[in-house]
Subunit: 191 residues, 2 copies
DNA sequence: ACCGTAACCCTAACGGTTAGTGTTTCGCAA
DNA sequence: TTGCGAAACACTAACCGTTAGGGTTACGGT
């Protein structure tokens, strides 16, 4: 999968990682808004333009690993056991993602995100992309055969469950409760 | 309700309206990104700082009437007939809001919003605020007595229905279909 | 050994946004 | 009526994220 990359790609990956690490460290030390892109670039010893060559925006520096998120969600659907019902598989994956996001070390990052309107807004727009990817995965599953609307709605509901749980007192219980609702909603769409 | 305001407040409202009208006109004429705040200010014959005294951001110029949206949504819950079930009332109001947003004259504005990432992102963050307001209204209703999680999830689902319908081929049918799902989800939360 | 190009650097700018500092206009009461 | 405090507005100058333009270095394949 991740086979021997050449020196060039290793250097590129190293630069990217160095930028991301430096940024997160500075953000946590001084606060997200108090750190400028120019600060990050200087501290990481790269040019400002290099930062933007690796990350599309300042906010993207914080959500370095969001491609994983999308992949895990869609794979929970596409890679599930044949004939395994959809909702439990989705439920399990969302539960895992929530645990990952509410783990011990993630608390300061969560606080930072919730404390910055720009980051909250960015996180939401990521969520929309994830919901669209998930909806596409649902629509493509030959065993489901629901309407496009049902797929899109269910995808958004699942993302809602994740978002709600990330901010809830008891994340695990919140996921369970919302997925009981989603299960019922999904059943109501049987052709 | 809107009783005799003094000259001062009338002038302020007029300035605000003039800015909003000018902005929308320029945006539609030349495209959202092609028009700068400085252009809007010049054309409306006010200072740039005045624009930001009335609107929190460039995007807010486009969503001038979003307070209405939130109020209509929450009032559909709080002002419904005593003992009228929640979901139909919500369904009806979302249906009306969608019609309003997909009306004939709104098409260019919709196109503009969908054509600009910044506007799409802003619209989503508005949606989150609306969902939170709606969730609060649900939680405050003494006849419902559902968990906070159920209220929050249902609120988000309702906003999802609106958002999906606004981009669907058949908005009306989409609202109906998603609300069948929401009805089932809501029923699944009966204490 | 050599060439194409990917990764990087620097400078300068653009556009949204805000701070700082007046100036005008209105609402209110003496 | 007059005078005062505050609100609305103007102007300037800057900050900050972001991008364009144009150059340099170092890697990978030939």
């Amino acid at each position: 999968m991740t086979e021997p990359p050449g020196r060039r790609e290793r250097k590129k990956a190293a630069t990217r990682q160095k930028i991301a690490d430096t940024a997160l460290r500075l953000f946590l030390e001084r606060g997200y808004e108090a750190v400028g892109i120019r600060d990050v670039a200087a501290e990481a010893d790269v040019a400002v333009t290099t930062v933007f060559a690796h990350f599309a925006s300042k906010e993207a520096l914080v959500f370095e690993r969001d491609q994983d998120f999308e992949q895990r969600l869609t794979r929970a659907v596409t890679d599930r056991q044949p004939h395994e019902p959809l909702i439990p598989a989705l439920h399990r994956e969302v539960q895992a993602l929530v645990r990952h996001c509410t783990a011990e070390g993630s608390a300061p990052v969560r606080r930072m995100i919730d404390g910055s309107p720009a980051l909250r807004e960015y996180e939401e727009s990521m969520s929309l992309r994830h919901a669209q990817a998930l909806a596409a995965a649902l629509a493509a599953d030959p065993h489901l055969s629901r309407s496009a609307t049902a797929c899109r709605a269910t995808a958004r509901f699942a993302i809602d469950a994740y978002a709600l749980a990330c901010h809830a007192d008891d994340p695990g219980a919140t996921v369970d409760e919302v997925f009981r609702m989603i299960e019922a909603a999904w059943e109501a769409t049987t052709p």
